[in-house]
Amino acid sequence: MKHALLLLAFALALIVSVAAFAIDPLPFKDDAQRQRFQHLTSQLRCMVCQNESLDASNADLAKDLRHQIFEMMQQGKSDAQIKQYLVARYSDFVLYDPPLKASTVALWFAPPALVIVGGIVVFVLLRKRAKPAAQIATNEMGDDW
């Protein structure tokens, strides 16, 4: 049921989507809080848009969530608490920064693994192919270009 509602919301959002960026003046306490808010909302996904952050989206749901997040900030909640609240309601899909879990191990560890494996290949290749500098005849070196 929740899924169906979400799909419906999604379909509606596509119909009324407006190519305009959200502009939402909120009464922040100070610049630090404003920056914290901008940083946090740019890392969260608008649930009814194709690929937009909460910060950017003009959709009503995004606006509601922005205001909720603003309220929670006024109540002194931390970024982690706010994220936790949103994840509980909307699942990890709301986070542009996917948390490390069993299902995202490959996502987070494949790049370092590739660097390590690639590094080993390069290292082995260099050990095998590279010669001591003294053995390279001058005429086999290029000029400087």
């Binding site: 960026f21 740019s42 996904r45 952050s53 986070l95 996917p98 790049p111 260099l126 590279a130 400087d144």
Partner: protein, 659 residues
Amino acid sequence: MIPELGQLALILALLLAALQCALPIFGAWRDHRPLMATARSLAVGQFVFVALAFGILTYAFLVQDFSVAYVAQNSNLQLPWWYRFPAVWGAHEGSLLLWVLILNVWTLAVAALGGKLPERFHARVLGVLGFVAFGFLLFSLTTSNPFARILPAPADGADLNPVLQDPGLIMHPPVLYMGYVGFSVAFAFAIAALLGGELQSAWVRWSRPWTNVAWGFLSAGIVAGSWWAYSELGWGGWWFWDPVENASFMPWLVGAALIHAQAVTDKRGGLRAWTMLLAIFAFSLSLLGTFLVRSGVLTSVHSFAADPKRGVFILGFLAVVVGGSLLLYALRAPKVAGGKPFALASRETLILIGNLMLTVAAATVLLGTLYPLVGEALNIGRISVGAPYFGFLFMLLMTPLVLALPFAPLSRWGNADLALWKRAGLRIVGLSILSGIIGWVLGARDFLPLLGVTAATYVLSGTAIYAIKRWKEAPRGKRYPLEMFGMLCAHAGVGVFIAGAILTRSLSIEQDVALSPGQTAHVGVYDFKFDGVAETQGPNWLAQQGTVDVSKNGETIVTLYPQKRTYPRGQVQTEASIHPGVFRDLYVSLGDPLGDGDWALRVYDKPFVRWIWAGGLLMMLGGFCAAADKRFRMRREATALEVSGATATTRIEVVEQNA
């Protein structure tokens, strides 16, 4: 009647493409000269018919022939004539036709400029390009026919997406496609080399200028897209790591690796197999990008599954191209390592490290782009992968590359001068620290802006030190061959880009404000005075236009007019108003009315944002300059003779074998 002629032209182009693929490759196999010679005339013929089809579709837009479904969907009577040209490629069917047209432009260039290539090799290259064109023409005709009619014709059309009604759209797709599609030439050279068992490095020199030009265009296309998003979407950002952006960025990364690997193979004979593989990957990623953007898979895996015809076709074509070329590679690629000897500390080693980081970065972008799609398809939970993931990993992966970058030109091929490394390294680090101190004195106190300044200085001073060294040591007239000048431009571009990207990110001030007419918002050191909103009108839109006076210390700098436009079909589009500058952009965009004449506005102070695109354009310039080097101008006999050492004999054999 006329659209049917366009349809007919496409069908004829398809048949010619099929022949352009089959006849020359068969001819090259049997060493049958007349068959090989057909390649050029077939390429010209195919170009003529594709250009005719494209011209006819453009004509249908110009005369507003709404009986053509594609025209009816993407324009209307109010669309100004200058937007009817880009409207041709504003949606799926037409942009595919543009893809094919640009492929034909490249093919024509190879046919015309490749006359001095060995005959069989040239025939094979054109044959492979014919195959690619065949695949895309078939795709266009079977799933995405731009000439399909709707009868009765509607009295008026829908509209070109207002987001696309911007000068940026005129530039972005054609330039981007020139890059995307241009990698098909490097790909065709690699496949032709594999088909002919041409395992020496001669083919690499022939393909280098093509790769450089394609990469230059791709850089320019990405810059145009980024600038367009910045100025049009009212968002003030320049890169979102959206899958559509990633689709163009992956071939760019692999293309950058390919340019360097080709230089190693051309000059030293090493990395031959790797260069081939990169040429295959660069084009495969271009195709994958086309699949991602054109199949609808990005909107939702499920919507893709509901109407999979287009996606399945591209996926099938992708499988044939990637699978076929990798199979050919496995069978034919050079197994024995070749090339001149090199020491551990050498330009070869540094380029190899750079190649590793660029390809891993491309793989990371690929992984992050596909992971949510795969997760959704397998039902293991939907996740989002966005800027925090990509930005973090990309910065980590690029750090070693940036650190190595200034030292690669300062190293000789084969064996670097360690004393020079030390001398230059001390200067580079010294200058970088100095720039950090200057940044500190000028008021930067946070880590990130200081990092931006020092990293940019690191790259720029390293590049400058090499340029100065050449100036002092090389004889006049031989100091900066174009190929090297291109390298200097592109490397300086990296430095300028780093400065722009990091400084914009860390120093930008953005603020959403609610203002009554006459009220002023203070953002950073600037005052934005709001003078209310008035109605205004364009050729096909009505707009509410705000007036904002920007001043600093009481001195007026500029008056900005941000708009909110309403198009005929009710679509709303913000038009940001931007005061551009070398060191900062001031940017205002208009939000919603808040009652009583009050409006919501978004105000930005964006320092150094233009440096991002300036860096990209320098990289583009680098690619173009390098390609113009006279080293790449072909003289058939001389190619074999000017090479020294072991490879010379093999190249002469190659030339003889192909003559």
